[in-house]
Amino acid sequence: MRRKRPGLPPVLGRGVARGWRKLSGGGEKALMPQPRFAGPMPWVIAIMVALTVIAAAAGLALRNTARAAAAELSGGVTVQIVEANPDERSRQTNLALAALAAVPGVSSVREVPQDELDRLIAPWLGAEGEQAAADANDPAAAIPVPALIDARLTGPATAPRLATVRATLHRVAPSARIDAQASWLRPVFGAIASLQWFALTLIVLLAGALAAAALLAARTALGNNRDTIEIVHLLGGTDAQIARIFQRSIGFDAAGGGALGLAAGLAAVLILGRRFAGLEAGLVGAGALGWSDWLVLALVPLAGVGLAMLTARLSVLRALRKML
């Protein structure tokens, strides 16, 4: 039977309560040096996060633009009455308006007013051309501008539906030219999609660079603390305990860098947003970020911290497995 003998340190006589719970924060911190923001790691992460926030914001704005444009244009049909004679143009326009209103699936029809038309052509013809086009009393001087009818279908303007509209209109307005509004912007949609892919690729590359930075930081820390790790191992420390110390340390660095990067990225996004808002262009305005987009941007540093910690953990565990 074990019993306490005189001369023993009291701790050996009474023993020490033990548990198998995870190391508490205080104990874990004491195992290895925990330099904070000592190396380039937080700054590298700050730059990565700032760039990722900007790239993500650009991708989200482009998505919003594409969605808004698609929603607005998918059921839109433009009918141009291309007729030089103003009276005939007016006659065919009225007939076309009536015929379109009777086509099933057409939810609204309106003739684009003359002043709106004037504003549309002003950038190309200038104020004089605009005036000339508007001058109904001098048909010889006027530049014949087609009449425009804006029709909305209840669903997307598919080829069969356009064919139906076309057939209906040609009977009453032979000068009518019918176009789905979405088809005009198809190249723009293609370009937007390309830019979105570009933004996504950039985000993936930045995530890869962030993981590589975390990997290098973890390896450096492992190399610097090799002796301590060996001692902790020989005292019964588990790989998971040691890995947790490194992942925590890198997590703190990543969190600091991430916060800094988020602030810088958001500042850049806000400045760019204001610049674009100043353009007052419809398509650009549609790309404004919503609250869910801002939330996604706020999650970027969190994802960065998670990725850095996971990378550190996996690389440390891998390195520790090579030790006995």
Binding site: P9, P10, V16, G27, A30, L234, T238
Partner: protein, 241 residues
Amino acid sequence: MTAAEGEIVQFDNVGLRYGTDREVLSDLSFTLFPGSFYFLTGASGAGKTSLLKLLYLAQRPSRGMIRMFGTDAITLRRERLPGFRRRFGVVFQDFRLVPHLSVFDNVALPLRVAGVAERELERPVADMLDWVGLADRLQSRPATLSGGEQQRVAIARAVIGRPEMLVADEPTGNVDPEMALKLLRLFEALNRLGTTVVVATHDVHLLRKVPDCLIMRLDKGRLSDPTGALRYPPRPQVAAR
């Protein structure tokens, strides 16, 4: 009780070589029993430290079989190693104190690794350091301590968790005779509590101070066991102490 049932450590034809060099340890076959006190002696370069490394699982042998606590230690899964290592206390020849930690934190290290709560650390560590005469150096860094003081910290760290087996490599090499005797008494006290103690030493005077000890002598990597007492030990009274 048979040897196989009672052994804490069993070596069978164990050999160790580093890389492609010749074996530094050859044909080691012996059994250590719970509660026994062993001195490991031998000239410098005889392989004492290498044998201790095998004992505290810092090294795997190149050949042979090692059983510890009734388990094959050669094929032991990596996940189980920490649990085994927590059953040992090790005093390293070069102390291996963690330089950035205070004396207190160095001694607390095995307890922290084992998951002892912070509030339960303070008293045992302070008591332990008081006992080895370093109560006033709790917050000192190892670099500010003398060799003897570092050695005492290393010993305090090794024994604070009350290990089942204590392995000490030249534990009295840097302390004065009075402290050496005190530390030896500590090892004996631990041994009386049931801890198996293996002390590697050059100091033959130390051997005489522990009358019931068993002596393992290494000579050029081979264990001198003329009577076969290490390989085929008599029914161990030590284990029943």
